[in-house]
Structure formats: structure tokens, C-alpha cells
Symmetry: C2
């Protein structure tokens, strides 16, 4: 394993300290228990949006803390759920009279711990579950995983909360965005978790994992490595089947890199996915291309499509000032 670290025990804390130093105008870091919160207090009465999950997916979620998006993020150890005490401390630090909405990716540990934190919380609160990974049929097991669509949900709900939407309205909007969003990924290589020191899974030089999860979970099927056009057609067809965008429908198209794939290739993938939906008469109105929901050093990417209505489009365009997403501020 070749990584920049001093010790796997201190990796997370050292990384969070560095992150907070690099973005001291936007966030602050609290060490015991770990959370990242906005440096500027929010408007009194604003709903506090808090997300979190295992680390190793940076910039998600800490990179999305700031004006127009999250109020706090709770990073667990690498690929490990954060603990209820982190969520509780973060909520108590940023709650400002509008209640708390937890934005939770659908993993058993995350769901359980945010639920426990909610029970301990002495203010109005609710949870929004993100489950955009359409690689898994909906009826299987724990349901669908939350993956790169989380960024879209956090941006749009974040803008609404900033504009004064109350807790119920934020949750309802969030559910609308989740319902309108579908993602699916492909891995070319595994990632390596620092504490394990070896690749999470084996994959041959001529194989790819279709529908991979953001922790390197096995996906829908393993296939022979194919051309970029074939890969995009495969992923896009499953997403398209799920969302069935009408001709003329406006959409946001997000190509998310898992960490180890160069932007040169992500831009190429974006062009092919844009073409896929354009040829079907869909209006690709907004884009996001880059590493937003990563899986450490895994090579691969996911496609995410969100069907936009006018409200969602306006909220997507609204000002945001975070480490990883910044416009209009």
C-alpha cells in the first residue's frame, strides 16, 4: 500500500485538521467528537442540514459544508459509519431554531446511528434517506444504496433551507429530488482501505464491475472491459429505464469520478452521456463533472441523472459557497 500517511490511527484527524486549515474561511473542525461545521452562524430559524458517513468519499460530505448547502458533516473512520455522539454534537452546535434535517445515505450503520442521534436530540428533527443507486433492483434486501446523487440532494435542499423553507418543506423537497434521481457506477480497479492495506476486491485486467458501490461492493455484474461508448450505453440505459425522462424534460447530468480516473476520461464520459440523452430529446440543462463522491483511489465513475422541475433548477443555480462547490457567492 502506498499512501501519504503517518499512521492509520491518526489519518482521519490529521486529514480533517488539514481540510479545516485550508478552508478556514468556510468551516471549523471540532475534534472530540469529530465534526465539521460552518464557521459563519446561520440565519436564526434556518433548518440545520447535517449529513455524514464513512470517510474516503471526499469531498463528500465535509466539502459540502457552507453557505447554501450543509451546516455540518460528521465523518466516520474510512468506510465506517459515524457515531451518534458525533451527530448529536454537530446538531447541538448548529441547530438555530429551525430544527435539524439529517441527510442519510442508505447504509444500515448510517441509518441506525442517525436514528439513535435523533432520539437523543432535544429539538424538532427529521431524516431524509438518499437511495439513488439503481444498480440493485428496489425490492432486494436493505434497499438501494445512497451514492453520487447525494451531492445533488444536498445542494438543492441546502438552497431551499437557505431561502427559508421549513423542516417539513425541506424534507418533502428532498424526497422529491431523491425520487427524481438515479445513479449507477462502474469500477475498473479496486480501492485500498488504509487500515487494511490491500485492495478491497480482485479484478482482472480485462474486467470491469458494473453497478459497483462506493465502497467497492460487488455490483450488478462483472463484464469484459468494453469501450467507453458501450459502458455509457449500459449505465445510461438502466438509469433511463428507471427515470423514463420525457422528450423535452430538463435534466441535470452528473459524471462522478471515484478518485483514480483522470478528468480527461471523465470529460469523455460526460460527452457520451450527454449525447445519449440528447439523442432521445432530453434537455441536458445542467452538468457536474468531477470527483465528488469518491471511493478512495478506485478507478471508475458513476452517472447520475436528476429530472429537474423549475423549482429544482432554480435551487441548483442558487449561490453556494463550500470547499467543493462554489458559485454565485
Amino acid at each position: 500500500m502506498k499512501k501519504f500517511l503517518n499512521s492509520t490511527d491518526t489519518l482521519l484527524e490529521e486529514s480533517l485538521r488539514g481540510f479545516a486549515l485550508a478552508h478556514a474561511d468556510i468551516v471549523r473542525y471540532c475534534a472530540e467528537p469529530h465534526y465539521i461545521a460552518r464557521i459563519a452562524p446561520s440565519r436564526p430559524g434556518k433548518v440545520a442540514l447535517i449529513s455524514g458517513g464513512g470517510s474516503g468519499h471526499e469531498p463528500l460530505h465535509s466539502g459540502f459544508v457552507g453557505f447554501g448547502m450543509l451546516d455540518a458533516a460528521c465523518p466516520g473512520q474510512v468506510f465506517t459509519s459515524p457515531t451518534p455522539d458525533q451527530m448529536l454534537a454537530a446538531a447541538q452546535a448548529v441547530e438555530n431554531g429551525g430544527g435539524v434535517l439529517f441527510i442519510v445515505k442508505n447504509y444500515a450503520g448510517d441509518v441506525m446511528n442517525f436514528e439513535i442521534a435523533g432520539e437523543m436530540l432535544d429539538c424538532s428533527h427529521d431524516s431524509l434517506l438518499v437511495h439513488d443507486d439503481v444498480s440493485i433492483p428496489e425490492h432486494q434486501g436493505m434497499g438501494r444504496r445512497g451514492i453520487a446523487g447525494t451531492t445533488i440532494v444536498e445542494k438543492i435542499v441546502g438552497a431551499a433551507a437557505e431561502a427559508g423553507a421549513d423542516l417539513a418543506a425541506c424534507k418533502a423537497l428532498g424526497e422529491k429530488v431523491v425520487h427524481a434521481t438515479a445513479s449507477m457506477g462502474v469500477a475498473l480497479t479496486s480501492c485500498t482501505v488504509p487500515a487494511l492495506g490491500k485492495p478491497t476486491f480482485d479484478i482482472a485486467d480485462n474486467e470491469m464491475e458494473m453497478g459497483v458501490g462506493i465502497h467497492g461492493e460487488r455490483g450488478r455484474e462483472r463484464k469484459q472491459l468494453a469501450s467507453a461508448s458501450e459502458i455509457v450505453d449500459y449505465l445510461a440505459a438502466i438509469i433511463d429505464e428507471e427515470l423514463r425522462p420525457a422528450r423535452g424534460q430538463s435534466v441535470l447530468l452528473h459524471v462522478n469520478g471515484f478518485g483514480g480516473t483522470p478528468l480527461l476520461e471523465l470529460n469523455l464520459i460526460y460527452g457520451l452521456a450527454y449525447q445519449y440523452w440528447s439523442q432521445r430529446g432530453v434537455n441536458v440543462a445542467r452538468s457536474l463533472v468531477g470527483n465528488y463522491t469518491t471511493s478512495l483511489d478506485m478507478a471508475g465513475c458513476s452517472l447520475t441523472l436528476t429530472l429537474l422541475d423549475e423549482e429544482m433548477l432554480k435551487l441548483w443555480d442558487a449561490p453556494v459557497h463550500t470547499a467543493a462547490l462554489r458559485w454565485g457567492c
Copy 2:
């Protein structure tokens, strides 16, 4: 080799098309010859800033085209200099009465081709050479390479050009920034050039390449893999020796990922580098952490330090609206 592509022959064009589609509000793509230019015309009389170089370093330079930074970028094939006809076509497209400043990373092919383009150009023009890589002693061979400090130069000179600085003033400012900037990188793995299909160099599991170039060129020395703190101390000491910042000096600290290193680790490196200079009484006033001057999928990073005066600080903070850097707009 595992990459998202249809053919190595079409990779660059497909990638640039995708890039331009994803950022159609900022840039346009011209295919024959290849260049990326701003979609919005610049103010009449503004100096046109044009950069370029081999592809594989994205977002450099195409991701820096837009308000407050470059007017155009000329991407060569992967790790290959762009040709004079690209530079000439880009210059003719964006020149708007203020002349053209070519910003050139110090590589023999780039320098030669920008010089040829300049000779063919029928307007006032000049060149600014970036050579921030202090891994190589100054007196050796072709001089020092241009690496991640290029982003800092393009941002600061871009802001000055936007604010009305003329060609001579832009060049003089650029030389001041280059003089105030030093970088040095370390690689943990090689990158793989798509057209070659195999790693550029071999490196053992317990080795790292100190002073590596952004094309995987051998650096200053190969060492045993060390802790993150030891790596930062090694790189920072060489940069510090070069720039000799005084106590109280304001600096910009840029941690640049080469592509294959997770943000989790880059943030950790930033924290250690911040600490290195803070402990010496240096005021780390601004930061930039992320993948800006990449080397395809190489794991590794570089540190860049720029000594800031008030003019440079103000220009760094000035609004910028590009695909890869965006604030204040």
C-alpha cells in the same frame, strides 16, 4: 491498461467535446485545430492570455479558461506539445486589441512551438515562461520545468489582465509571480499514457520518486517510502531554501494532487505543510488543495509556495469564473 476510451486516436477530441458541453456557459471548443476559448468576448483592449501544453494534466489549462484567468488554451495530445497552428488560431480568435501573452511551461517543445506561433502572429505579443520546479538545480540543462505553480501564475496574471493591465505590465507581473513561486513533487506510482498502455516508469512498492516531473520524469532521487511528515519536511525544506520566506511573510500554499491520490491524503499533506511554515513564523494566508496540475492517474502530489505581496494577494482574491477555479462571480 484500464481506461475509459473508445480509441486512443479520438480520446483527446472526445474529451474536449465533453468538457465544452459540460461548461458551455464558460467555454467553446474549436476542433480544427484544437483549442478551447472563452464563450464571452473579452473587453476590447484587454490583453489576451493564452496557455497550453500536452494533455493529461487536466484541469490545467482548459479548466482555467474563463473570466479572470485565460482567454484560450491549446491542448496538445497526451504529454505532447501543442502545435503552432493551434496557438495561432487561438490567438487570432481571442485577440481583442490588447495583444497576446503566451504563458508557457518550460518544456523544449512548448517553448519552441509558442515561439514559432509568435513569429506568425500579426499583433503585439510576448511570452511568459513558468519554471517553478525547484527539484532540479537551476544551472542544469534546459532549466527548470513548469509544474503546479502555473495555476498560481495564470490566476494572478489573469486577474491583472481583466483589471486592465497592459501587455508589458502582465508580463512583468507574471515574472514577479514566477520568481516568487517554487514547487516540488513526489510520486508514489507511475502514470500510464493511453497510447503506450503501460506505466511510464517502474517503482517498487517501498519506493517513492522525489522531485518527479508531471510526466513521470525522474526527479532528484528515489527514496524509501517514508511517513507523510517526513515527505512534507523533505519537500518543504527544498522549497523553503529556495524562497527563504521571512517571518511574517504572507504566502499562498498549494497542495496539488497528481490524479491518483485521494483528497483525504491531500488534506493531510496540506495540514503538515501548513504546520511546517507556520512554525517558522510564515503567514499561510491563502490555500489551494486538490487536483489542478495532474499527471493522468499518477499517485503523488506536489507542494507549491508563492510569496505574496499586497498586489498579488488582491489579484488572487479577485473574481474568477472558470471550470476549475470559481469564486467571487
